[in-house]
Symmetry: C2
Subunit: 370 residues, 2 copies
């Protein structure tokens, strides 16, 4: 028993399918009250549900918003997804989800799939890679996106334009001031902390990570501090943990009475003899920061006493973490909402989209201990 169709409803109501369509879906003018009621009743009694595919085919517009994330279980992405979801509800559309692990090839695939479904707009939330081995993938992704835009699709990208995309019509970028905010974080940290800085970054070429690293270094240098060493690792909790382990070993080695560092470079800055001020760790996102903190703790080190830790994003689920994590607050949900809105044509609500603004939020994990 298949779902009932508009035609059946029309027949039952004794009208033409066109009329039925007009009353059940919002056409310009509503037909005569009497007939309209008859149709609505027929629809009701048949349990009529319009076939969105047929509607889409006829109107060539699907009521779908495509959302591309690296991993929906990552709180950063799920927060953005929530914003997109909300915007979708406002627009009376549904969201189509694709997880890509950040691989340009699967992003391209996802875009193609969205295009195939005639998604009205696409939101790309993950940051892109710009490594040499990704140029081909990115080019294909850009081509796919261009084609989609050329066919009338709307694209919104969070954070960064896709490398190599011809900035066509219908291509929007929600700017996230990663660099500025990271710089600000660095300068606020530098103002209160003596210790040497070290950065736990994602793989080289990951744009968001690179921006935050660059900004942080700039802030440091503006504050008259030497550039921080950068540890490259994976852009997730376990990457942070590994880096944290490495750092912990170093801290313990540098302690008065500790073994000499296995590192053959001379310990930078602080003279090895005096107990140095605690190391200041900046991880390019909160999840990595938490991983690093866990690693330090597992090695018997305390935060902020033996080292301070700061992150980026201000992930909600992590706010009860102790010591409270210093970070940069990003309005993730708002970012998602805004991306979905700008791709819907109405940027914000008539007014220009208020630019995304974050906020350095210093908490316990970077406090100086008395």
């Amino acid at each position: 028993m298949a779902a009932s169709t508009l035609t059946e409803v029309a027949r039952l109501a004794g009208v033409s399918p066109a009329t039925a369509s007009r009353v059940l879906n919002g056409s310009a003018r509503i037909p005569g009250k009497d007939i309209a009621d008859r149709v609505r009743q027929a629809a009701e009694s048949l349990g009529y549900i319009p076939n969105a595919q047929a509607q889409g085919l006829a109107k060539s517009s699907s009521g779908l918003i495509g959302l591309i994330v690296h991993d929906i279980a990552d709180p950063y992405f799920s927060a953005i997804a929530r914003g997109v979801q909300e915007a979708a509800r406002e627009q009376r559309k549904m969201v189509l989800l694709a997880s890509t692990e950040g691989a340009p090839a699967s992003e391209k695939e996802a875009v193609a799939a969205f295009a195939a479904r005639r998604a009205d707009s696409i939101v790309i939330a993950g940051s892109r890679m710009s490594r040499p081995e990704d140029v081909e993938g990115n080019a294909e992704l850009a081509a796919e996106l261009d084609r989609y835009c050329r066919n009338g699709g709307q694209v919104a990208v969070v954070g960064h334009a896709v490398v190599g995309a011809a900035t066509e019509e219908g291509y929007h970028v929600v700017q996230v001031p990663n660099e500025e905010l990271a710089a600000q974080l660095a300068s606020e940290l530098a103002a209160t902390r003596e210790g040497e800085f070290v950065i736990i970054g994602g793989p080289e070429g990951l744009l968001t990570s690179d921006d935050r690293i660059r900004g942080f270094q700039q802030g440091l240098s503006a504050a008259g501090r030497p550039a921080a060493e950068v540890l490259r690792t994976s852009f997730n909790r376990s990457g942070g943990f590994d880096a944290g382990l490495a750092i912990a070993a170093r801290i313990k080695a540098a302690r008065p009475g500790g073994a000499a560092p296995s590192d053959d470079r001379p310990a930078p800055a602080a003279p090895p003899a005096a107990a140095p001020a605690p190391l200041c760790i900046f991880a390019v996102n909160d999840v990595m920061a938490i991983g690093a903190a866990a690693a330090l703790r597992s090695q018997g080190l305390r935060i902020p006493r033996d080292a301070t830790v700061a992150g980026f994003d201000d992930i909600e689920t992590l706010r009860d973490f102790r010591p409270a994590l210093s970070t940069v607050h990003l309005p993730l949900e708002e970012i998602g909402r805004q991306a979905a809105r700008s791709a819907a044509g109405r940027d914000g609500d008539g007014a220009a989209p208020s630019p995304v603004t974050g906020k350095v939020t210093l908490r316990r994990s970077t406090e100086t201990v008395a």
Copy 2:
């Protein structure tokens, strides 16, 4: 410039649309190698992308999996979503997302929307309500679901059958042994802890919450302990926090030298004079447990010294929380995967779907302190 169509490809290749269709999409037999290549080339050069809506309309199957969650930003749901997403990829389908805040009315709406899009299957991940005011909403939801199934749709529900659903064909339930696991948690806790128990539960009628409460009480009683008091609050972090605050006040009041409880009931069980063993708190999910822990801490209470806390779910993002949270591990991602698979027809992979199994996981937050 609209996207190019099958017909255009066919014309370019000098064949009929039918043939083009046969080679581009998996029809029974592949046409002659020579002609096939010609078609493929034409498609390539035109950048042809099949119109999924048209395909769906013709085949009446959309390649879509509908997923209903309360809130995609909640780590419990995003973990399940990830599993569903994976299964979708295996099935070469896409997932359509709907967030409903748990309201039966919007769940019904979501099901209708999925049905309209001719989703091949629907996964409902949130637990349902069974309050008196929800009976109507649930009935409508059940009706919508039944209709969907009758039209050939497949439904998988995580945890609980929808109240009042006629268990039709195509209606699957992924059982989650909430009750048993909660009982087991209670008995393991009762074995090592002396203190009185108190439960922080969600609103009355929320099935998952109720199951866990019931199970926990059973475990307690099997261990010869009196039933725990149940504090009802909202099923999220802030609910846990509020309850935690209330409990903290009580603990402080009950302390030797503390003020008398503002509560007019006599303090249950332990004689008020002796310092009682620390209270054992069980929150029906991790997020609430974290909230409660934060509240206790904010009142100067320490865990597990002044009170112990246990949760449920074993949310990954919360694993680095200190003190490490005792909880019941649930294979959330697997649950999502299994739900999506069972709704796809192939339960598991030919074999019966291995039932979901959790595991009581005791950690620091419920340890006895020396």
